[in-house]
């Protein structure tokens, strides 16, 4: 069992590497506290699930589903999020490194700028906590769509999360306060287009593979 426990993945960059777009303090809390809590609660729910399965306790199994969805979703979403960000000014942030995806975006929205505008509007329209995503419908190289998921719901099924943006207040509040538009505007300076291109072309492996 011990080897099957989920663990917090290390960030692919330093806590202060996304400044000035996302502050070091936010990144530390977000990764070490928030993400870690999802991991801990997922492990607890999975352990409880094993016990309930062994005792054939179906009511408990059903009661556990929402915990697994929320905390498993939180773990998946944050694991994807850290990787689809990159420090500003690094090669990954250059959309030229994502030729296939860029072409797909332009053919879907008419221009990169139109896409950025549409994505921002979708994010700012979210009511409550949740995530904004660029997804590739049905698998790699599919039709692109902007979607939002509430709370920690992950992108489901065959759809590929090309990149996601965390719209929980804890993702930006210490720095941007109620100006979430400022956060959404800044996020483009740290989107990892190289990672997005990879996901668009080849899909996403199970982000929580043990």
């Amino acid at each position: 069992m011990a080897s099957q426990t989920h663990t917090l993945p290390p960030l692919p960059y330093g806590y202060d590497a996304l400044e000035p777009i996302i502050s070091k303090q936010i990144m530390e809390l977000h990764h070490q506290k928030h993400h870690q809590t999802y991991v801990n609660n997922l492990n607890a729910a999975l352990t409880a699930q094993v016990t309930a399965t062994q005792s054939n306790d179906v009511p408990s199994l059903i009661a556990l589903q929402q915990k697994i969805r929320f905390n498993g979703g939180g773990h998946i979403n944050h694991s994807l999020f850290w990787k689809n960000l990159t420090p500003p000014g690094t090669p990954g942030n250059d959309i030229a490194g994502a030729p296939t995806l860029r072409e797909a975006i332009v053919s879907r929205w008419g221009s990169h700028e139109a896409f950025v505008k549409a994505f921002g509007a979708e994010l700012l329209g979210l009511q409550g906590s949740g995530w904004g995503w660029l997804v590739s419908k049905g698998g790699a190289k599919g039709r692109l769509e902007i979607t939002t998921t509430k709370d920690q719901d992950p992108v489901n099924g065959p759809d590929v999360p090309v990149f996601g943006v965390d719209m929980w207040e804890h993702a930006y509040y210490l720095q941007y306060l109620n100006n979430k538009a400022g956060y959404v505007e800044g996020i483009w300076k740290i989107i990892n287009w190289a990672e997005a291109e990879k996901r668009y072309n080849a899909g996403v492996e199970n982000p929580l593979k043990l």
């Binding site: 506290k33 409550g128 906590s129 207040e169 210490l174 306060l177």
Partner: protein, 229 residues
């Protein structure tokens, strides 16, 4: 709620002027010439410290609550336009905006009222019929508070926990609501606690349990009693 919406016919209302402001009933909502307006707090921004910092209160009231008011008024203008045109689809499409922003306005208006500085009765335990109902239902104020705190901690995402009264049975219970869903219908709101991150994050960050425990020092039980009776 619906009655309020549909009676505010002053579609091209003049800019909200303080002179026309009137306090309206239990919900504590203020209107100026048919427009919802941001209610004044009955205490200073810093008066709830150390439970809630002055900076949080200021942002929460002047920015967050005010945005709900603005967006609610905008949605109502659009709704009246759609009604005027007999456009049913447009009216239905506006429902989420009305629910979210109207709910945000209702919830925060109630919230400010059910808080009070310590030197104005904040944290003083309830008495009378409400106290009895809490004892009967939960076995005591402390037990009620821990159940309410557990409900708050269990909210997945943004939302509120409420002590409510069932209009059918008169019983009280704890209910949680997602995002800005207001307490309407079968239940009446008695006491609400905001569990959105913006309500505590600047002061407590991820340690939300500390916020839920500190807020009892500034609960205005007198206001809750009034709603209960």
């Amino acid at each position: 709620m619906a009655a309020t919406l549909f009676s505010s016919t002053a579609r091209v209302a003049l800019r909200s002027g303080a002179s026309a402001t009137s306090k309206a009933g239990a919900a504590g909502l203020t209107f100026a010439r048919g427009k919802a307006t941001l209610p004044d707090l009955s205490y200073d921004y810093g008066a709830l410290e150390p439970s809630i910092s002055g900076k949080i209160m200021e942002l929460h009231h002047k920015n967050h609550h005010n945005t709900y008011v603005t967006n609610y008024n905008n949605a109502v203008v659009q709704l009246e336009e759609a009604q005027h045109q007999g456009n049913i689809a447009a009216q239905i499409a506006l429902k989420p905006a009305i629910n979210f922003n109207g709910g945000g306005h209702l919830n925060h208006s109630l919230f400010w009222e059910n808080l009070a500085p310590k030197n104005a009765g904040g944290g003083e335990p309830p008495s009378g019929a409400l106290s009895k109902a809490i004892d009967t239902t939960y076995g005591g104020l402390g037990e009620f508070q821990s159940k309410m705190n557990a409900a708050l901690a269990g909210i997945q995402g943004s939302g509120w926990a409420w002590l409510v009264k069932d209009k059918q049975t008169g019983q009280i219970s704890i209910r949680t609501y997602a995002n800005q869903d207001p307490v309407v219908g079968q239940f009446e709101p008695l006491l609400g606690i905001d569990a959105w991150e913006h309500a505590y994050y600047l002061q407590y960050q991820n340690r939300k349990a500390e916020y839920f425990s500190a807020i009892w020092d500034i609960i205005n039980w007198k206001a809750v009693e009034k709603r209960f009776s």
